[in-house]
Symmetry: C2
Subunit: 334 residues, 2 copies
Amino acid sequence: MTIDPVSGRPPSIRDVARLAGVSHQTVSRVLNNHPSIRDTTRQRVLDVMAELQYRPNRAARALASSRSRTIGILSAMSTDYGPASIMASVEAAARANGYWVSIANIDPNVEGSISDALDQLRAQAVEAIVVVAPQKRVFEALANLPFEVPYVTLQAVGDDGHALFFDQYAGARLATRHLLELGHRAIYHLTGPQNWIEADARMQGFLDEMNAWDAPTTAPILGDWTADFGYFAGQELLRVRDFTAVFASNDQMALGLLHAFRDGGVDVPGEVSVVGFDDIPEAAHFWPPLTTVRQDFAELGRRAVSFVLGELDTEAHTIDPRLLVRASTAAPAR
Amino acid sequence: MTIDPVSGRPPSIRDVARLAGVSHQTVSRVLNNHPSIRDTTRQRVLDVMAELQYRPNRAARALASSRSRTIGILSAMSTDYGPASIMASVEAAARANGYWVSIANIDPNVEGSISDALDQLRAQAVEAIVVVAPQKRVFEALANLPFEVPYVTLQAVGDDGHALFFDQYAGARLATRHLLELGHRAIYHLTGPQNWIEADARMQGFLDEMNAWDAPTTAPILGDWTADFGYFAGQELLRVRDFTAVFASNDQMALGLLHAFRDGGVDVPGEVSVVGFDDIPEAAHFWPPLTTVRQDFAELGRRAVSFVLGELDTEAHTIDPRLLVRASTAAPAR
DNA sequence: GTGCTCGATGTGACCGGTAACAGTGACCGG
DNA sequence: CCGGTCACTGTTACCGGTCACATCGAGCAC
């Protein structure tokens, strides 16, 4: 930063104005892309700015305009892949829109931590809040927010006009349809934990698609998201061998299945097809590379930002996942 | 926020001052814990503040004092446990010190993203930077930072006066000594990837401690941090069976070992002891619960904040990890 | 009593932008 | 030729704090 040796401060718009021979207001107009500035003037100002390495003072801007240009993220600081990538993409999208992000963390176990976090965001005068904390208590706290600010909750299924989420149901139907179209009929489903809304939606999608094709359905296997469980379930399934495909409700469990099938000498996809859900970054590197349903977290983050900034029509509250066909699925052996 | 229906704005110090019958400067003094304020006056001001639900305007403060009270985090937005918890703890520590955090992400693959992120932090006038991005290019960029600001790099071993890290070497010696003290002599070490500084330090610690006890050392097994590799290595080790303990360089690999040993019918810790490194949150729930070396990421975050805020003497650049003895280690069978 | 120090408080400028409004000159229709 | 409109630019106040300095009365040493 070029620091004026006289004043000992970084250059302000008035410094720029003086050198460019204009008023400071004109500099401000250039800064804000005001339409009626003569091109030659604009250029002169821009040149001086570059020369001085001028940077607008964010605090002064915020004070004068009472706009902080900051988006708050309310986060449970989860170490999971999904939340982490959502946060990254929110950050990127915010920056692309000329906003900053500020993060307030909550510890769901600590009493008062939610209201503390909200206080913190309020103190920063955030113009919007993106919530990446799927705790029920967070939603309750948001319902009676003590100050007005647009917000959006991610990762949660809901219809209070503040939720933005992947259409888990549609994704599950996609995955199931893919297997059915390949010719599979005996398909098992490995669900996530019962109390997870996503898990339930995926299971419903599976069941409905199966019914639509008049395929016989077996009872879903209640899983817990972990690869270990997938491995265990795979071993159990190998005992019965009355299926040609398995749709796992997430990639980790699918990984466990692959492992179990490999251990059991069952070829995937030759003898059994496996589909996952999520498309975690590792999924493409599994052996065999996993056919799965992609949740585009980056897109979710972008949309969340558009939404809270009021650029998104309130209709598009769900995002359709995409089926990624890789090498873990094939037509069933005859 | 109580909004004055007349001005349509949240209350300012002048509003508080008027109601408390003092000058705005006195209010400011109360706000900043100035010593020479009469207690009765202070209390009166505080009462009015509470009544109006007054909140200081951060932008105005920053503008007037040219202090942003913001710490920047330069992050690679990793989805790993370590970085994520470091960020959480930095956030908490900053807040405890009356600072805000602002996060700038870099994508190591995108050209210019490092300088963009630094620009962003500069624009926010951060007073310090905590770096949670162990990329070599980041360190280079920091070395010739275009503006002056204290910073600290975490996760990296180095001695340029800006690094703060766990003493991996000491931790590895602790783990190894624990096994030796239990009576083990035939101990294998499973390392992390060769190009990781941490992996190397842990290996050195292992070797030096073994030598100090005149225990025969076998060549370390070069791993890759993954549980899968641990499993694989465990299976291989079961072929030779010339050991009574394994020290894995992280918990994931230790998990794989446990898995392999369980599969192979080898009792842990009855027949073989296993030690990990990191103490990831799951480690205590492994079967058997894993003896491991704890890296207290929360402590690291706190220290990082103290350091960049100048409250830490420059001596304490390393943090000693702690050995957590759980159920995966025992004296060797005779 | 006088002068001095010091605690407690007030006054006014200032930080670096933006907002509101005013001015200026060119162009245009009548 | 004149008033009006419009593009372009300047002037001044203001946002809500902090800072430097002034003020004022009490306590105290001499």
